[in-house]
Structure formats: C-alpha cells, structure tokens
C-alpha cells in the first residue's frame, strides 16, 4: 500500500477541520480511500488540534505517526509538528519571517524536509477576501502539491456556495491564487499520489457517529434520549439535526439517568429507543441497566469510550470499558455487549442491537470509542436489503392478545427463558413490569422457589443468546503460527498492518471479536492451541479481552500489545510492536 498522509494543525477554531474535510472530500472524489483522524483538546478556542488524512488507492483504515505533509495554521504547529514529518516531508506554514531554531534547522537538513511559507494574509488582502477564505487558499496549495487539478476544488466549492455568486467567485480566485503561488514559488515541491482507483469515487465519506446515526434511523428507532458527553455527543448532534426529516423524538435530558430511564420507558411502551453516553455518564445509567435486566425490558445503550478514570482525557480514545460493559449494574442478569469496528459495523450492527434486545428482552450495550466515533471513513454505500426487523415474542395479533394470561409475561417455563411480551395499550390482560423479584404475572414475590425459578428463567436467555451469536471473524491463515486477537476500533489498524509486506506469506491469522458478551471461544481455543503466539491487541492498560478469554475458556494470549495513552494504535507503531513475533 502506498500511503499518502497530510496533517493539518492549529488552534481550535482556526479552520483545521474545514481544510481537513475539504481535502478529504477532494481526495475521495479523486479516487482515493481516505481515513481521517482528529486530535483535539477539551476546550473551544485555542489549544492545539489536528486533522490527519491518510489516503491510498486501496483500503486504508488507520493513521501513521509520521506524515508527508504538515499544514500549520500557527507557529505552535511549526514547533510541535515539524518532527511529525517523514523523510523528505513538506511543511506549509503561514507565519511571516519565521526563524527555525538551530535544532529545527538540524532536523530539517537531516530529514531533507521542505518548507513552504505561504503569505496567506497578503494574498487575501490582494484579493480583498475575508480571512475565512484562507482555508480555501491553503487547500489549493495542498492540491497543487498533490498535482491535482483546480477544477476538482472548484467543483467542491460550487456545491457549497453555488447559490452565492459573489462568494463563489472569491472562492475561485483563492483556488487560482493557491495554484499560482505554488507554481511560482515551490513548483518542484510535490507529492506524487498513486494511480487513483474509481471504486472510491462514489463511496461515502463519513464518521463512525454518522454511520451509527444512519444505522439507528434505519433500525426503526423512533426516540433518542441523551445527555451531551464527548465522544457520544456527535451522535446526539447528528440524530438531532435529522429530526425534522426523520420525525424522531429527540430529547436532551437533564442527566444520564433521565436519558436511560426515558429510553427504558419508551421501549417498555413498545417503540424502539436508544440512549448514548460515555464513561461517567454510563456509570450513572447502570442502575437503569439493572432494572431493564429484571423487568426484561429491551434496552439499547451506546457506550462511547474515552480514557478514564474520572473525567480522564475527555476528547481522546480508549478501550478501557469492556469489563465495565460486561459487569455494569448490580445483580446478575443477561446482557449483550457488542463493539462495532468501523463505519460498516456502526451501521449494520444497529438493527441487530435492537433485534437482539427485543428477541431476548435484554439490555444491549454497543461499545464504541472516540476513535471510531470521530474517525472519517471511506465507506461503500450501505446495503439496506439485508436488514431485518425481528421483534421476538412480541404479541400483537388481536386474537392472540385476548387469549393471553397475565402469567405468560414472566412464565419461567418459557422456552429458553424467553416469555411472551405485549405492549401497554394492547387489548389484553394486564401485568406489572416489576423491578422487585416477582412471580410470573409481575406480582412481588420473595419466596425462595420463585426467586430461584425467575433467576434461572432470565439467565437461561444468556445460553440461547450465546448460541445465536456468530464466532469471531477470522482473516488470514487457517493454520496460523501467529494469532492476532482484537476487538472494536482496533480492527482497522491490525488489518492495515497485516497487509504490510513484512507480514505477507507468514502463517498469521487475525481473529476479531464483534460480540464480546456472551463470549464465544470455540474458534479462539482451536486457533490459540495450535498457534505459537497468540497476541491480544487492546487499547487499555490491563488487557481486558485477555481476562475475559481466560475466564471463559481457561486460555489467554501468550503476548499482549496494550496502549493506554488516549491515542489509537498507529500503523507504524503497531507494526513495530508485532515485528518481534516474526523472528524465528
């Protein structure tokens, strides 16, 4: 894979995202697969943020620690991100008369870095253009460095500003000036992109949150209750922005407890509802999770991970809440924990999350993270024909409703523990969705035989649920010497690394877990027993999937690659960590 990478850096609010997004769209339309990665701080103005785009003409799902081009909005970027450049990399900055320190000069000469100083303000003044248009000017310089055509950018700005003739004309001038500047002052400083591939042009360019939002709407979810907390907020924003078109009821609740309760109340009534939150917000929801466990109310929680404990690193990523998701809530009750890996899963798994919640009448936790929620993916348009609406043993037929007995609701002898469910308002006998331990009708019962029977009824669902889940996905060798195990958003970088030359031709397999609880281990055991090395790659400090695997089947990995610094795995970093395994 020939990877081309661009990193736009600056203070928050300076236009980093806007240049990043424009370049991303331009590259995708030009025929490249783009993967976007944002870093920013928990503040609104200032700080230091970046938008990195890694692109290729083949599938790419990760970032590298070093890049080909750095675009700086301010001098902090020059200082901070000059070392991020690869050998021969290009730095574009806009700080007039910037003097590099002797150490920086040394770095520039040792790595043969090329520097372009763009007099943005002067050019804008000549054009009589507003400062905001600096973003277009910078993008045009990058575009010229990539040897692409100005028409491509013009098409993009026409889409955005086509209805405003004046503004469009100014955008066009900035594009032309950007190309002219590069041609005149730095024509020999270029990056050669690989041959484009048409397959990417018509694909979608969207974040994990967009993908999940589409999946939620697609699944027939009609109510979203949430409370803002990064990194779950982009999902709330997207769903809220669509509400006038989808007709969904969107409620920004007074706290996470409210959001969770509203979701459970709405699910009990019979619609599809969801809530999303992050670490501490999920802590607040766990009592409600437990309630859904005993009332057997279908429930769907999105838990977008960020590094804890406490407020932790609010705008960074982690995979530190797997055990939280598996164990959250008091008492013992069945649940499903699943983790989408990318923009495909984020869409495809949402109808499934609701289907499983309704079929098994259990809470479902969708475990995502900041990296997945905010990364930008190039994604094949979703195949909507595959989706199913499965509502399990929900009774809606009027005749059948009239024949129901109240004791059908929590009948402990129901097959697989899954009893009949019917909705408030149905013309039928009524029952109580009871948060106390209860008999089959939902009447409170503290009798020992009943308590044991109801616990068994609920826990039996876990066995049926486990049987309904697929084994983890396997790619690569069928008889691996090296088995790499991952879950959640780490999938993309593992796949990118394993496509690397160094790993080709070796007996390596990648086992990726989407469904994490209940945990299927048959395939893992078979592979791990035969493999020389079994490596769990996880974005946490303690190896949480390893622990679950050991508990479930008695076998753990031989090696662990762990990371808990708020950053995702970068492809070069992961490659370096896996290389020692290749030694005989």
């Amino acid at each position: 894979m020939v990877r081309t990478s661009l990193k736009v850096v600056g203070a928050q609010g300076q236009g980093v995202n806007s240049v990043g997004e424009m370049c991303a769209k331009g590259l995708k339309r030009a025929g490249y697969c783009v993967f976007g990665y944002r870093e920013y701080m928990s503040l609104i103005r200032g700080g230091h943020s970046s938008y990195q785009l890694d692109s290729a003409n083949t599938l790419i799902r990760s970032s590298e620690t070093h890049v080909d081009v750095v675009v700086c909005f301010n001098h902090h970027g020059i200082r901070t991100n000059l070392p991020d450049l690869k050998e021969g990399g290009i730095l574009i900055h806009q700080t007039a008369q910037w003097k590099f320190s002797p150490e920086e000069e040394k770095l520039i000469s040792a790595k043969h870095l090329k520097i372009i100083e763009l007099p943005t303000l002067d050019i804008l003044r000549t054009l009589n253009a507003k400062p905001i248009l600096g973003n277009v000017l910078i993008t045009a310089v990058v575009w010229s460095i990539f040897r692409r055509k100005p028409e491509e950018l013009k098409a993009l700005v026409t889409e955005q500003f086509g209805h405003k003739a004046d503004l469009l004309a100014q955008n066009f001038s900035c594009i032309e000036e950007g190309f002219a500047f590069h041609g005149k002052h730095a024509a020999n400083i270029c990056v050669t992109l690989p041959e484009p591939d048409d397959q990417w042009r018509k694909q979608l360019l969207l974040t994990g949150s967009h993908a999940m939002g589409l999946g939620i709407v697609h699944a027939g979810c009609r109510l979203y209750a949430g409370y803002p907390m990064t990194p779950s907020s982009p999902l709330l924003t997207y769903i809220a922005d669509l509400q006038n078109e989808t007709g969904m009821t969107v409620k920004q609740a007074e706290d996470e407890i409210t959001a969770a309760q509203m979701m459970v109340g709405a699910m009990h009534m019979g619609t599809r509802a969801i809530t999303a939150t992050s670490d501490g917000g999920f802590d607040l929801m766990t009592e409600t999770l437990s309630l859904a466990g005993i009332t057997e109310t279908p429930a769907v929680f999105v838990l977008a991970q960020r590094p804890g404990p406490g407020t932790g690193l609010p705008t960074w990523t982690a995979q530190g809440d797997l055990l939280l998701a598996v164990h959250a809530g008091h008492g013992e009750f069945p649940r499903l924990v699943l983790a989408p890996a990318d923009s495909s899963d984020s869409f495809d798994l949402m109808p499934e999350a609701f289907n499983k919640a309704e079929e098994f009448q259990i809470p479902v936790i969708v475990l995502t993270d900041k990296h997945l929620a905010e990364a930008l993916f190039t994604q094949k348009p979703y195949d909507q024909k595959r989706s199913q609406l499965r509502r399990g043993s929900l009774v809606t037929d009027p005749k059948k409703l009239k024949s129901l007995k109240a004791s059908d609701r929590y009948d402990p002898s129901a097959p697989d523990g899954i009893s009949l469910r019917w909705l408030p308002g149905s013309e039928a006998v009524t029952y109580c969705a009871q948060g106390d331990e209860h008999d089959s009708e939902g009447n409170v019962s503290e009798a020992s035989a009943n308590a044991a029977a109801q616990m068994q009824k609920r826990m039996k669902k876990l066995e049926a649920l486990k049987a309904s889940l697929p084994e983890p996905d396997i790619t690569g060798s069928e008889h691996p010497e090296i088995l790499i195990v991952s879950w959640g958003s780490t999938k993309g970088v593992v796949e990118d690394v394993l496509r690397d030359e160094a790993f080709r031709g070796r007996q390596i397999a990648h086992l990726h877990y989407t469904y994490l609880w209940p945990l299927k281990t048959e395939r893992f055991v078979a592979l791990a027993r035969a493999a020389k090395h079994t490596v769990c790659v996880e974005g946490n400090h303690t190896g949480q999937l390893s622990m679950l695997l050991k508990r479930a089947c008695g076998i753990g990995p031989t090696d662990e690659v762990l990371k808990a610094d708020g950053r995702p795995f970068f492809s070069d970093e992961l490659k370096e960590k896996l290389m020692p395994l290749l030694r005989p």
Binding site: H210, E245, V250, V429
Partner: protein, 298 residues
C-alpha cells in the same frame, strides 16, 4: 383468570381488583389513595388495558401489584423520566406516575424540576407522608425541622423544604393538593389531573400512622379545607392567588385543584418533528430507508 370486560358500558371497580392483599399498615393513607385511583379510572371509563401506571419505590410503590392496569415498577426516584419516556412513545395512552416525597424531593428532585418545565403530558401522584415509610421512618426533605426520626435521634438539622413554594416557582400548569382521608375529593382531582393537557402535579397529604407523628390523620382532618368548598368561587386560573393559597399553611391547609393553566402546550405539542404526525412512535417501528441521508456523504 378473569376476563377483561370490553363492553361499551365501561369498566367497574372490580375490573381493577386483583387477588394480592395490601401490605400497608392499618390506617395508612395508601388505602384511600388506592381506592380513589381505581375510582377515578373507572369514572373516566378507562379499561385496565387503556392506562399505564408507573410506580417509584416506597410504600406507594407497593401498590404496583395491588391493582390491575398495565404497570411498571421502576427505581427509587426515577419514576418521572420512566413515565415521560413511556408517554413520548405512545401519547395516546394515559400515563400516571406514582411517587413519594422521598423520591420526588430528594433522590429524583431534578426530574420534578424538568418535568414541570417540559410540561410532559403525564400525571404525578405524589404520596406525601413526609417521611421514608418503607425504610422505617427516616426524615425526608418534607419532614418538619427538628422532628426526631429514625437515623435522626437529635431531630433533623435541615430546613424543611416548602414543596408548594418550590413547585410554584417552576411555573407548573396543574397543581392540586389532596388529603388521603378525603376519597371523593381525590377522585375529582385525579380525574382532572389525568385529563390535563400537560404535567399535572398532585400533592397528596398522606397519613402515616407508623412514622409520621406530626401530621396525623386527625391533624390533617382538622387542618385541611377545600378551596372549591368556599363561599366565594375560587379561580383556578389565577396563578398568584394559587401560589399564595398553597404556600400559606400556617393555620389551615388548602386542598383541591389549586391551579390549572389550560393554554400551555405540552411537551409533545412543542416538538417540531411531531407536528401533524398522526401515528405514534410505537406504531412507527420499521426498517427505514436512509438513502436520502446517505447520499449526502458521497
């Protein structure tokens, strides 16, 4: 199992009766509230399957299996958002939340604040026995200052929260006060509350013979009067009068429908995406074509 009568003549009290025997103390105000609730539902001609009753945790919550109707018995302090979520999913079904003073003014006081400002079209029957009965008599925020309670052997040091002043400060659209010893009045109040356009707050002063020794059945009988019984016609649309009347409990305690504002749209009416929508979110569950939104990402 008894068949639900679905005749046009409407339901009778028996339709709400179930076989589980109440476990409340002798003389508990819950008996009266329980009877009034069933009567109100019957008089509104609601069949048990046409209502959702949501219960908080406390002595009142033990009503969850003492009558029929669709019921959900949730967590302590959280009945308001549970009921509100249910109502948003099916606005056609009357939703009644039943909670106590511990749930509504301590554990879940935030929910009460936001329910009033949101004006969710639900009813809150607030069983106000001014203590935590089910955990054997600890002080609530509404217990009289200085009272010696379980866990407060020296008397409670905190100020008593003036519940009515608090509720009125939030610009409610329906406020009533009732007394658990006056069933006919409770029935009238509950019926009006259930039919109210938005959030109906019903504060029911409830005798608790076991743990409330300051506002006893006798004391409440002596002190409560109904604003609707006065010589002068009481104007329920006068907010300032209502607030003054409700807060002034020095000599007598005003009961009845204290305030009702009928012109304020409820939460669902305020939702732009739900304007002119004839179906309910419960009916709308279906795999939905997302092509039009997907195309924007190309």
């Amino acid at each position: 199992m008894k068949k639900i009568p679905l005749s046009a003549s409407g339901p009778v009290m028996k339709d709400y009766t179930c076989s589980v025997t109440p476990t409340w103390c002798e003389g508990c105000g819950n008996y009266g509230i329980w009877t009034a609730l069933k009567t109100a539902l019957v008089e509104l001609k609601l069949q048990p399957h046409q209502v959702l009753l949501c219960y908080d945790v406390g002595c009142h919550g033990n009503m969850s299996d003492k009558m029929l109707g669709y019921r959900i018995h949730g967590l302590h302090g959280r009945v308001i958002p549970l009921a509100a979520g249910a109502k948003l999913a099916n606005p056609r079904l009357p939703v009644i939340a039943v909670g106590g003073d511990g749930a509504s003014f301590s554990e879940g006081v935030g929910h009460l604040v936001h329910a009033i400002r949101s004006n969710y079209p639900i009813t809150l029957l607030m069983h106000n026995n001014a203590n935590y009965g089910l955990t054997t008599g600890q002080a609530s925020a509404l217990t009289k200052k200085g009272e010696r309670m379980n866990s407060s052997p020296n008397g409670i040091p905190e100020e008593t929260l003036n519940s009515m002043d608090f509720v009125f400060s939030l610009k409610p659209t329906f406020v009533a006060r009732a007394f658990s010893g006056n069933v006919p009045q409770m029935v009238q109040i509950m019926k009006a509350a259930i039919l109210h356009r938005g959030f109906a707050y019903v504060d029911i002063l409830q005798a608790c013979p076991s743990y409330n020794h300051f506002a006893t059945q006798e004391w409440l009988e002596e002190h409560c009067y109904s604003v609707q019984d006065g010589k002068k016609k009481y104007d329920t649309s006068d907010f300032d009068l209502a607030r003054k009347t409700a807060v002034d409990t020095g000599k007598k305690i005003a009961t009845g429908i204290l305030y009702q504002g009928k012109d304020v749209p409820d939460f669902i009416e305020r939702l732009q995406p739900r304007k002119n929508v004839k179906t309910t979110p419960v009916e709308e569950v279906a795999i939905t074509d997302i092509s039009r939104w997907m195309e924007r990402f190309i």
